[in-house]
Amino acid sequence: MIKVENINKNFGGNTVLKNVSFELQPNTVLSLLGKSGCGKTTLLKILAGLLQPDNGVFELYEQDVFSVAPQQRGIVYLSQEPLLFSHLNVFENLAYGLRIRKIEKTLLKTQVEELAEKLKLQDQLNKNTEQLSGGQKQRVSFGRALIINPKIMLLDEPFGSLDANTRVEMQELFLHVKQTINMTALFVTHDLKEALLMGNQMAVMNEGSLLQYKSIQDFSQSHQAQIKAEAEFWKRF
């Protein structure tokens, strides 16, 4: 069980996070929906260790996480930009986390190749990152995180910079990977449809406050008007 309790964060007198609390079951994806500037990214950066909270609790299987260094948390943060290592090719980007962990060469090669096949990157392994399309870059970034089997993945609008077709392709891939491996993730998005599609659980963030719903049905009921409006829009075509 992952538990976040009463996290607060102020920047120069501005309250960015107000008593943020939520729970996340292992092997589930919590979609966090919210407008730009509502504090979603700040929350993820705090959980990943890039920012310090003013106060609050973050427990992973009853162990305090805030006292653990970011590199030892087993929490990978993925931003909207793929941020690949431009001096390494696709294979080395995917293998990065394993090399850090000094995994034996043959095993490393097998793991990278298996993952590359899952992510449909098997033909791209020797390419430089500049030679990849936006979707392929995002897949490499996703794979680089997946390969180390993180305890939690923090996905900060990971498909936000992709075109509509690639975005759908990546959503399908994410769902496929989610089903094949036991992934625990916090998926941040401002897109209602994407939030519903990706998550097993739902939460909404507004002006620094977070509201977690017990189930997708609960969320649907309280956001009926919004969901109806979205459905009506698509019916028009």
Binding site: A48, G49, L50, P70, Q71, Q72, R73, G74, I75, V76, Y77, L78, S79, E81, L83, F85, S86, H87, L88, Y96, G97, R99, I100, R101, N128, R144, A145, I148
Partner: protein, 253 residues
């Protein structure tokens, strides 16, 4: 055609002074207007390489100073600029040594260096030049430390890399062109530096530019030309290395 002609003019303008210097360094008793009516001798070059003159000592001293100064400025500039990247005031302050002439900067330092007993010593010149070159390194690296680099470094941390691993496996390789350029520029600034060396070295520290100016003051065009030819050597070397590096990268790409 025009492009080719302009290219030719540019090459001539750049190469001609070096050719003239080379010519002056191998002629005897050259005097205007007898430009070509001279005898050729490699005596000055032979003396230089045999170490019979003090010029070789000056070259080695300049090499030593420039290498240490460029290495120090590049190494510390990389880390200091990282710390100052979100403090724009300090970055702006780094422009200060370049808003005033090096001689004025040297004169400002001279008082403190005299108090500390550093004038007239190699270490004094070394420290003064580091103070002059270091802000340049900070300025150059401040263009490297952008948000994307910071985020990439953090990405590496969340993937499990320690601070040292973040630097050795991500930041240093990513910064390689900056590190190379910074070292090269700092080396050249120090290699050609005259004003500060003259003021802090008070004539006792004879680097190559100081020596060249001495030959010019002595009205010895042949030794001054030889000295100038040697001064150009690092630029030629860097150009050749650069060309080979780019050629290699093109082959890899």
């Amino acid at each position: 055609m025009i492009k080719k002609s302009l290219y030719l003019v540019l090459v001539t303008v750049l190469v001609l002074p070096v050719v003239v210097m080379l010519y002056l360094s191998v002629v005897n008793q050259w005097s205007f207007p007898k430009i070509f009516d001279v005898s050729i001798s490699w005596r000055l070059w032979a003396d230089f390489f045999s170490g019979n003159t003090s010029m070789l000592k000056s070259v080695l001293l300049s090499l030593f100073l420039s290498t240490i100064i460029a290495s120090t400025a590049t190494f510390f500039g990389f880390f200091v600029s990282q710390q100052l990247s979100d403090r724009p005031l300090f970055i702006k302050l780094s422009y200060f040594p370049y808003l005033i002439a090096p001689v004025v900067f040297g004169a400002m330092l001279q008082f403190y260096f005299t108090l500390l007993g550093l004038t007239g010593s190699v270490w004094g010149v070394l420290l003064a030049q580091v103070l002059f070159v270091f802000p340049y390194s900070v300025l150059l690296f401040s263009t490297f430390w952008n948000e994307s680099v910071r985020q990439t470094a953090f990405q590496s941390t969340t993937l499990g890399a320690t601070t040292w691993e973040v630097f050795s496996t991500v930041l240093f390789p990513m910064a390689q062109p900056w590190l190379y350029l910074c070292f090269l520029q700092c080396f050249l600034i120090s290699w050609y530096e005259y004003g500060i060396t003259q003021l802090i070295g008070i004539g006792k520290v004879e680097t190559l530019p100081i020596k060249t100016m001495l030959f010019i003051k002595e009205a010895n065009p042949h030794l001054a030309a030889l000295s100038a030819c040697i001064m150009v050597f690092p630029i030629v070397s860097f150009l050749i290395i650069n060309r080979q590096l780019f050629a290699k990268k093109e082959v890899i790409a």
